[in-house]
Symmetry: C2
C-alpha cells in the first residue's frame, strides 16, 4: 500500500488516499484508489473461471483469456465511489454504522474489459426490463453475523447499457489483488458495491440477489429508522450516486502560509454533467466560480475543479457546492440527509484551515 493511504479498518482492509494526493491526477493510480473490502482478499487460481447461468440462459463458463478472445475489448473511464463516501460528515450529526470515510472513498480510472451486454448476448440471455443480473464474488462476507459469498445485483436495463464492463485492467495495468483480480464488474455511476470484485458468477434472475450484501445492506432509509427498527425489505436500494462535490486540497485542519492558495477538488453527478462549481472562502457568505480542470468528455468520469484565492491570516472556512446540468443543487446541511447507516452524504463540503 502507498504511504498516502489512510487505513479505515484493518480486517477487512479498508483504506482511502490522502485527499491532496487523490486530486493530483485525472486517473487515480491503483495504489491511491480506495479499497473497500467486505472480507479477506481472495487468492484466485490461474485457471479461475466465471460461470454464467440463470433464467433462459445457456449456462457457460469463461476464463479471463476466453473473454478477451471471444468479445471486443472496451475501455471506459469511470468513477467508482463507496456509498459511504463522506460518512464522517453525517457522523458529526449523529452516530452511524460503517467505516468513517472522509472524501477519498472515490476514484476515477480507465477500465479495460468486455461489455456485460456482449456476454449476456452470447449466452442468449433475455432482455426483459423486469429481470435482474446478479454478480457473485469469491470473497466471504459477514453481514449481521452470517457468513455468505459477496453477492449483489442490478436491473437488466442497466446491465445491458453501454459501459457496464467485466474488467481485468485499471489504467492499463492488471487489477491488483485488492481491486478484484483477475476480474471484476464495473457498473459506471452506481455505488461501488454493485461492481463486484473477484467475480465468480453472473446469474440472470427474476428478483434481486438474495445475498446479504444486496438484501440487508446498502439501502437508504429516512432519519427515523434505526439499526434496531430497520426492515431491510424496505428502503431505497442505492444504485445511482447523487450530485456531490468535495474540497481535497487544502485538507481539513491544514496550516497554510498567508497569501495565495489553490483550492482543488472534484464534482460528480451520475449521468448528468456538472454545470458549475462554487467555492466560498468565508463560510458560505460569498461564492466564486471554480474553473474545471477536466473536460466533460468522460461521461462517467469526475470533473476536477480549482479556484485560486488569497486567504487572510487566521482560521478560514472553505465551502464547496456544485450544480448539475439540470440546475440541481446540493442540500446545505448533513442533518437533512442523515441516515443510520451513513450513506450518501451530499451536503455542501466544509474545510477549516489555519492561515499563519
Amino acid at each position: 500500500m502507498s504511504e498516502q493511504m489512510i487505513e479505515r479498518s484493518p480486517d477487512p482492509y479498508n483504506a482511502e488516499p490522502e485527499p491532496g494526493a487523490l486530486i493530483e491526477q485525472f486517473l487515480t493510480p491503483q495504489a491511491l484508489f480506495y479499497v473497500r473490502s467486505h472480507g479477506p482478499v481472495p487468492d484466485l487460481p490461474a485457471d479461475h473461471r466465471i460461470e454464467v447461468s440463470g433464467i433462459d440462459v445457456e449456462s457457460r463458463s469463461f476464463s479471463v483469456e476466453e473473454l478477451k478472445s471471444a468479445f471486443p475489448t472496451r475501455m471506459v473511464t469511470a468513477v467508482l465511489q463507496c456509498a459511504g463516501n463522506r460518512r464522517t460528515d453525517l457522523q458529526q450529526v449523529s452516530k452511524t454504522s460503517g467505516d468513517p470515510w472522509d472524501v477519498g472513498a472515490i476514484g476515477n480510472a480507465e477500465w479495460t474489459g468486455v461489455h456485460l451486454a456482449d456476454v449476456l448476448d452470447a449466452v442468449g440471455a433475455p432482455g426483459a426490463s423486469d429481470l435482474f443480473v446478479a454478480f457473485t464474488g469469491a470473497d466471504e462476507v459477514d453481514v449481521e453475523g452470517k457468513e455468505a459469498p459477496f453477492g449483489v445485483s442490478i436491473g437488466m436495463a442497466k446491465a445491458r447499457a453501454p459501459d457496464v464492463l467485466l474488467a481485468w485492467a485499471m489504467n492499463g495495468e492488471p487489477l491488483a489483488p485488492e481491486h478484484g483480480a483477475p476480474l471484476r464488474m464495473v457498473v459506471p455511476g452506481y455505488a461501488g458495491v454493485r461492481s463486484a470484485k473477484w467475480l465468480t458468477r453472473i446469474e440472470v434472475r427474476d428478483a434481486p440477489s438474495d445475498a446479504p450484501i444486496q438484501a440487508h445492506d446498502y439501502k437508504l432509509f429516512p432519519a427515523d429508522v434505526t439499526s434496531e427498527t430497520v426492515d431491510w425489505s424496505q428502503g431505497l436500494t442505492i444504485n445511482a450516486m447523487p450530485l456531490n462535490a468535495a474540497i481535497c486540497s487544502p485538507g481539513s485542519g491544514e496550516s497554510l502560509p498567508a497569501g495565495g492558495v489553490r483550492i482543488e477538488g472534484y464534482a460528480i453527478a451520475y449521468d448528468r454533467g456538472i454545470s458549475r462549481v462554487e467555492v466560498s472562502v468565508n463560510g458560505g457568505r460569498d461564492w466564486r466560480q471554480a474553473t474545471f480542470a477536466d473536460d466533460p468528455e468522460a461521461r462517467w468520469g469526475w470533473r476536477r475543479w480549482s479556484l485560486d484565492a488569497t486567504l487572510a491570516k487566521g482560521r478560514q472556512h472553505l465551502v464547496v457546492r456544485a450544480f448539475d446540468e439540470a440546475g440541481q443543487g446540493q442540500p446545505e446541511r448533513p442533518d437533512t440527509m442523515w441516515n443510520f447507516a451513513g450513506y450518501l452524504c451530499t451536503a455542501w463540503h466544509h474545510v477549516h484551515v489555519l492561515v499563519e
Copy 2:
C-alpha cells in the same frame, strides 16, 4: 378560462390554477393547465402547414392531417412545467424579473401526436449528436424590445429520444388555442419553453436557435450576475428540470378547522423516479413519510402524494421535501439558488396555515 385560474399577466396572457384545484386529478384538464404566452395567441388557418428543413434535410411541409396519416399515433403522459415555477419563493429572497408564479406553473397531461424522430427520419435528417433541432412558433415575441418569432431548440439526442412529440391533443381533446392549436411540440422533462406552441417550422441546425427566446432568455446564472451584467452567451441553457416538490393543499394562508387535514401536493424529478416525499407539520423539526397517490409507470408524469395529519390550533408551518431514486435531496433554502431571472426554484416548499 376557468374561474380557478389566477392571472399573472394580462398581455401576454399568463395564468396558473389555484393549487388545490390543480392537485385534484392526475391528468390536468386543459382549463386548469397553466398558460405561459410570450405574445398574443395566434389564430392559425385550417390549412396551416409545418415546414421541415435544414442541414442535409429534404425540405417538406405537412399539414396536421398529413402528419396523422403519415406516422404512427403516439401517446405520452408528461408534465410540462415553466422554468419559473415557484418564482415567488425566490422573489422573497430578492427581486427577480419574470411573472410571480406560485406552485401552479406546471401541469400533467396525456399528449397525442407523432414522434419527432419519425418525422426526422421521413425527411432524411442526420442523427449526429452535435446537431440541434429548432422549433419556430407562429407567436411574435418581444425580448429586450425586439420583436421576433418564438424560436427555441434542443439537442439532436433529445430530439430523437422516444416520447418527444408533435402533439395535437391533450387528454384526448384537441389543443385549445392558448395551448398551441393546432400543433405544438411536447419535450418531456424539459422546461416548458422548449415545447414550442403554434408550431410553424422545424429546422435541423449545427448550432442552437438564434431566436431571442433561446439565445437571450431561459438561462441559469450564478447569484452575482444581474440583468445589467448578464452575458447571454454564458449561463446554463435550461432544459432538464430538477427535483422539486410542492404542497398544493392546504393553500398558503388558508384557515382550517382544528382536527384532521389531508396535506397534498406533487413531486417531479426529470427522468428519475421519486423515492420518497417527507412532510413536516412543525416547520421542519420532524418529518413524516407521505403516501404516493400515483403509481410510477408514467415515466414523465408527476407523482402526487398526500399525508393525513392532525393540526393543533394556531399558526402552523408545513414543509415538504422530496428525494429522487439516486437519493438526491432538495436544497433547503431559496437564497442558495437565487438568480436574477428567478428560474428553477427547488428549495423546500413551505406553507403557513391558521388552524381555528
